[in-house]
């Protein structure tokens, strides 16, 4: 019967989803357990910081600049209606530091660095490099996964901070240089309204959470990918889709916890 078949299919997917969440959690705990090896050989983390963090700089800077410029334009148009153009700096800065910096930088990080991590590890698995490492009595979680995980966790807040900083400059360029908002009020109101603990630290916490989640998803998907071309491409797609949804969902939860009641 088609109805039974549909229910069976839904049940199968639900069980599979729960199973994967469990496996990913176990994978995360194993990564933490074997992180000591990575820290003892910090050069492995430095190498991964280059490929995940430094190689993401261009996309982060360019995207941050344009997002800030759009925010400057839209913010000006809205604030002008209430005669509050001087608050443009506050709006741009809070929008970036609290929300757009961590979220958009994490989305970009997932699509650039996350997908690259998944594809790299998936291909290592497909070409038996991970099996070879295990046969050489070298734990792949300690040698391959842990350095990449910490590189992701370290680089994500830095990239988000850079995104926000460049975005503020983009907003300044459009608002002050192009439109003519008063430069003094742009900076002074921003300085007065943006709180270090409430705004900046909460943004940093968000980007740390996003960095952890995106990196774990990317590494798990690579490690779990079927060792075929189709398997690696599917895992790469899943990394981007799952990470993006997780970022947006977690952003709501974190925002509610941080700013919901105030």
């Amino acid at each position: 019967m088609p109805a039974i078949k549909t229910i069976k299919g839904i049940g199968h997917r639900a069980i599979n989803a729960v199973w994967r969440i469990g496996m990913a959690t176990r994978f995360f705990l194993l990564t933490l357990r074997y992180s000591g090896t990575g820290f003892r050989r910090f050069h492995l983390i430095i190498k991964e910081l280059f490929s995940t963090g430094v190689m993401s700089l261009i996309i982060i800077v360019v995207a941050g600049l344009f997002v800030g410029m759009v925010l400057g334009l839209q913010g000006y148009e809205t604030l002008k209606r209430y005669g509050s153009e001087s608050a443009l700096g506050v709006m741009v800065a809070l929008g970036l530091v609290r929300e757009l910096g961590p979220v958009v930088a994490a989305l970009l990080f997932a699509s650039r660095a996350g997908s690259a991590m998944t594809a790299e590890i998936g291909l290592m698995k497909a070409t038996e490099q991970i099996s070879a490492m295990e046969m050489m009595a070298v734990n792949p979680i300690a040698r391959i996964v842990a350095p990449r995980f910490w590189a992701g966790v370290i680089s994500m807040p830095l990239l988000a901070a850079l995104f926000s900083a460049v975005g503020v400059f983009g907003g300044y360029f459009v608002g002050v240089v192009q439109i003519g908002v008063d430069e003094g009020s742009f900076w002074s109101q921003m300085q007065a309204a943006v709180d270090f603990r409430e705004d900046i630290m909460n943004g940093v916490i968000k980007s740390l959470v996003f960095g952890t989640v995106v990196t774990v998803i990317a590494l798990f998907e690579g490690f779990d990918a079927p060792p075929t071309a189709e398997g690696v491409s599917g895992a790469t797609t899943r990394t981007v889709v799952t990470s993006s949804l997780a970022i947006l969902m977690l952003d709501f939860i974190l925002t509610a916890m941080m700013f919901g009641g105030s």
Binding site: L123, M124, T127, E128, Q129, S131, A132, M133, E134, M135, M136, A137, V138, N139, R143
Partner: protein, 267 residues
């Protein structure tokens, strides 16, 4: 257990998703010998190697290596045993983000505290043994298939293992590379005093270099013997395999329904 056996497999059974892959396998690999496991693709040869390496646990039976039951070890004990082994994968499995030099030095850096000068000398000696000392600065993507296999061989023997396992070492090689790799397998086994297990279906090259052969089909051993005995064997499966005959116990046609029916012909 015989004191001269490095690896002993007794009544090994393994099933995957209730499908039997290995059934009642008994094998002995004496120290210092080079032994081939042959059979068609999918007959369970690689699965057997993975059992010896401790990557799979048997459904029933035992696998001992150097006096230890491989399937009973925890991860730390298993890794300790694997330091005594080396495995050459089908296409080398070189680490693509490392140079030839770093690939060969990998285990030395991971498992020893040797200074870099000594590691350098050891790497050069291993690469010299496989005739590729001049490639130490190259990346794996710059090597031919045969060269990659030889670099992988140098990496496999980097820490002078007691047991060397080869998974299809001749697959996809040109005739010259095939002879070179075959010769290297024999010479390295003798020079290191190691025991080697070669999983292959390249009958002609293998029979030139090995001491003993096990033939597998459908997860069981169907024949065994020294190379001369194999060449002279009258068993149908062995004869078909050795002489590459199209039909025999291994049929040309994959089982299917009626041919007439598939062509929609009336009886």
């Amino acid at each position: 257990m015989s004191s001269s056996a490095l690896v002993e497999i007794r009544d090994l059974n393994f099933s995957y998703d209730k499908r039997p892959v290995l059934q009642g396998i008994n094998m002995t690999f004496p120290k210092g010998k080079l032994i081939a496991i042959m059979g068609l693709s999918g007959c369970g040869k690689t699965t057997l190697l993975r059992h010896i390496g401790g990557a799979l646990k048997p459904t029933k039976g035992t696998i001992s290596f150097d006096g230890q039951m491989m399937h009973e070890l925890d991860q730390d004990e298993l890794y300790a045993m694997r330091r005594k082994m080396g495995m050459l994968f089908q296409f080398g499995a070189l680490f693509t983000d490392m140079s030839v030099y770093d690939n060969v030095a990998f285990q030395m850096r991971e498992h020893t505290d040797l200074p870099e000068e000594i590691i350098r000398d050891m790497v050069m000696m291993k690469l010299h043994a496989v005739g590729l000392r001049g490639t130490h600065n190259l990346m794996p993507s710059e090597l031919s298939g045969g060269m990659a296999r030889r670099v992988a061989l140098a990496r496999t023997v980097a820490l002078d293992p007691m047991l060397i396992m080869y998974d299809e070492p001749f697959a996809g090689l040109d005739p010259i590379s095939l002879t070179v790799v075959g010769d290297l397998i024999r010479r390295l086994n003798d020079a290191l005093g190691a025991t080697s297990i070669v999983v292959t279906h390249d009958i002609q090259e293998s029979l030139k270099i090995v001491d003993y052969v096990y033939f597998m089909a459908n997860g069981v051993i169907v024949a065994e013997g020294a190379p001369d005995e194999i060449r002279a064997s009258e068993k149908d499966f062995v004869r078909q395999f050795v002489h590459g005959e199209m039909d025999g116990p291994v049929p040309f046609h994959y089982p299917g329904g009626s041919y007439r029916q598939d062509l929609s012909l009336r009886a």
